[in-house]
């Protein structure tokens, strides 16, 4: 059986090693395009810093716009990545090997990008240290800062633990032809790990503990994010179900992003053997279940607001069904029903269909965030008087769109760089699964 494991490992390295050692022209081209987009984002940021927030669509009333939408979106994606990798690891799922690393990368990279949007959104950045110098524990913003920073550190530790074995394997690959500096990096990062029983025991304990912790902290982080809205007396926000609703929505969007990434990496690295239809269907079924929960929460939230007929809630819902009609339908009908139908009906359950359904779900979720943030701020309890109409209604500007585009490009860039450092599929995890399967299935042979 050990021979089988060795064969599997050899095959895996055969697939991934060339991309770790050599860099293709296509890689450089894609990297250059994404880097240009990133530079454009820097230019947008420079424009915003030099000319002020007047270059954005945000004004006195609608003080949160696309930046906060993106912040919630990326945080949601990161949360789902943490939850999926944590759960699959804890339950020792036998199909996790091909998926967990992508989920972990999604988590960490989204966590790095998401909070940047807060910096873009707020003015007077020089006051930011005051948040740490004079914190008020009663403020949800303080909760958010504490929760997100704890989450980032926790996710980094978890990611590092899952990379450790692969770093050790890469360090020991003398024949791979890595450059000196790279070998040195692997040596430092591998922490003298040699896979001894004692080391494996330590690593297993650490990973189990961290897997459980990142699930818990991700729930707390996303709930805290929801409470920023929930504790605010604004139409559409002041809701007790916002915590669990945000958590469910986050898992939904993150699952969608994971499916999209699985499809992309499957195509790029020709991973048809390792990321099979089974993986897509399994993650797709998760998407279906979460879609059902998400639909239930959405309906429950809007029904109670509509039935309560509180004046401004009614005005808000009327606005959603008139000014934001297309977005509302795309977000809360198409974005929920299409993924459910595609995964639910067996004939439609193909890899491209599931990927398209995931894309629709992610798009729907982004619109959902937009509908939570913008229409509410356009409908305050206190009437907006004597203000230019252009200041009441929010429309994102090219600066905001540019920074959004740049954030997506940065996401791609960091994924590409990470894929250059370690294999995008966890080799050690795949080998471990193979070992466990052989132990469970054929104990008498051994």
């Amino acid at each position: 059986m050990e021979n089988n494991n060795n064969a599997l490992e050899k095959n895996l390295w055969k697939v991934f090693l060339p991309d770790l050692v050599k860099t293709s022209r296509t890689w450089y081209l894609v990297f250059a395009i994404l880097f240009l987009l990133f530079l454009f984002g820097l230019f947008c940021l420079y424009t915003q810093i030099t000319q002020g927030h007047i270059v954005t669509g945000m004004r006195d009333n609608v003080v949160w716009g696309m930046y906060i939408v993106n912040f919630i979106f990326f945080m949601g994606v990161s949360y789902a990545g943490a939850l999926i990798s944590g759960v699959l690891h804890l339950f020792r799922s036998d199909w996790r090997g091909s998926v967990v690393r992508m989920a972990e990368l999604i988590t960490v990279i989204s966590l790095l990008i998401g909070p940047c949007f807060i910096m873009f959104c707020i003015g007077r950045l020089e006051r930011l240290p005051f948040l740490a110098m004079y914190p008020r524990i009663q403020s949800p913003i303080t909760w958010d800062v504490i929760a997100i920073s704890s989450d980032i550190i926790g996710c980094f530790i978890f990611l590092y633990l899952s990379f450790l074995e692969d770093f050790a394997r890469l360090r020991d690959m003398k024949q791979a032809g890595f450059s000196k500096w790279r070998t040195k990096i692997y040596r430092i990062l591998a922490l003298n790990y040699h896979g001894s029983p004692e080391q494996r025991k330590h690593l297993k304990w650490a990973r189990d503990v961290m897997a459980a912790m990142i699930i818990a902290i991700a729930i707390i982080v996303y709930s805290v994010l929801a409470w920023i809205f929930g504790v605010t007396l604004q139409p559409g926000w002041h809701s007790t179900i916002f915590g669990p609703y945000f958590v469910i929505a986050a898992i939904y969007s993150g699952t969608g992003v994971l499916i999209i990434l699985m499809w992309i990496f499957r195509k790029i690295y020709h991973l048809e053997e390792y990321i099979t239809k089974r993986h897509f269907v399994n993650v797709g079924v998760l998407l279906l279940i979460i879609a059902a929960f998400y639909g239930y929460f959405t309906f429950s939230d809007y029904l109670t607001k509509w039935y309560g007929s509180v004046k401004m809630d009614k005005v808000l819902i009327d606005k959603l069904f008139t000014e934001f009609y297309t977005m509302f339908i795309l977000s809360n009908y198409v974005g929920i029903l299409v993924p459910m139908l595609v995964v639910g009906i067996k004939k439609l359950r193909t890899i491209p269909n599931i990927t398209i359904a995931a894309f629709i779900a992610v798009l729907g979720l982004w619109f959902n965030r937009y509908l939570i943030v913008v229409p509410t701020l356009e409908t305050p309890y206190l009437p907006i008087q004597d203000i230019r109409p252009a200041w009441i209604h929010y429309t994102p500007t090219w600066v905001e769109l540019g920074l959004t585009l740049a954030s997506l490009a940065t996401f791609g860039l960091l994924i590409m760089l990470a894929a250059k450092l370690v294999p995008i599929v966890s080799v050690s995890e795949m080998v471990e699964i193979e070992e466990n399967v052989s132990v469970e299935v054929k104990p008498e042979i051994r």
Binding site: Q138, I146, M213
Partner: protein
Amino acid sequence: MERSCNILKRVFLFTTLVCLAFFFHPFTGLSLPQGGAPEKKPAALALTRVKMSNGDHQMKVVLSSTSENGRTLLAGLPVTFVGGKDLSVKYSEQKTNARGVAMFTIPKDKLPAKDPDGTITLGVKFDGNKEYEPAEEQAGVKDLTIEVTTEVADTVRSVKAFAFEVDEKGAKVPLKATDIAFYVPRMFSYLKIGEGSLDSSGVCVVEFPKNLPGDSAGKVTVIARIEDNDIFGNVEGSTRVDWAVPTQHFVKESYRALWSQIAPTWMIITLIILLTGVWGHYTYAVVKLFQIRKEGKNLSS
């Protein structure tokens, strides 16, 4: 042929009539054009005047219009407060609020001259507009004064009201056999604490209730009031006593609150538990990493 023509004519006539009936039916909201200017709606003023304890006259008027659809309160329209026998003294013009109410207080030194019979006439006018007809309302009352005093007999605390007119010679003429009520102002309305009838000397005494909440010093205003009297209208007199129970109306602000500098204890405890739990586990994982490193060094050596 002729018969069928007749039938067609009848059908045409019937259809035309039905259409006309439909279009000009009240439910359709259409009507035949009317000649001349549209009719104005009637307006009405309901005036209430109260002689306050300081001698000023407070006037309150409600402007409304009553039609077959019911009573409508007229908001944002100007009304003029006037006085004198022929309402020639103009005091002030006020606009009605959302409830059709306008108020004005006439100081005692600005009151119009009394009529020969001692009546003081005050009124209010609405000049009308394109939609509403003009309206006028006046109330003529004789001058009456109520003096409110207090007395304590044994442990019983009483409030005494003395109502009187002042004749030409300046002598006090007591008002007899008239109902009078005693009130204490509360946050939203007056609380009645007693009532009675003026005796032959124009006096009515009521006992002050025990355990009545007052301000922080236990002070409270007692008002004696004659209401809707045919000759004197509404008249009141007042005094301030310190017989009530001192009450702290403000809530003492907590040192630890949502809005104070220092967070509530429960919040700090929750945060400590959460952070200890999370960072404790992180520390455990990092310690495990150090152990892995140490183990690796041992293996290498």
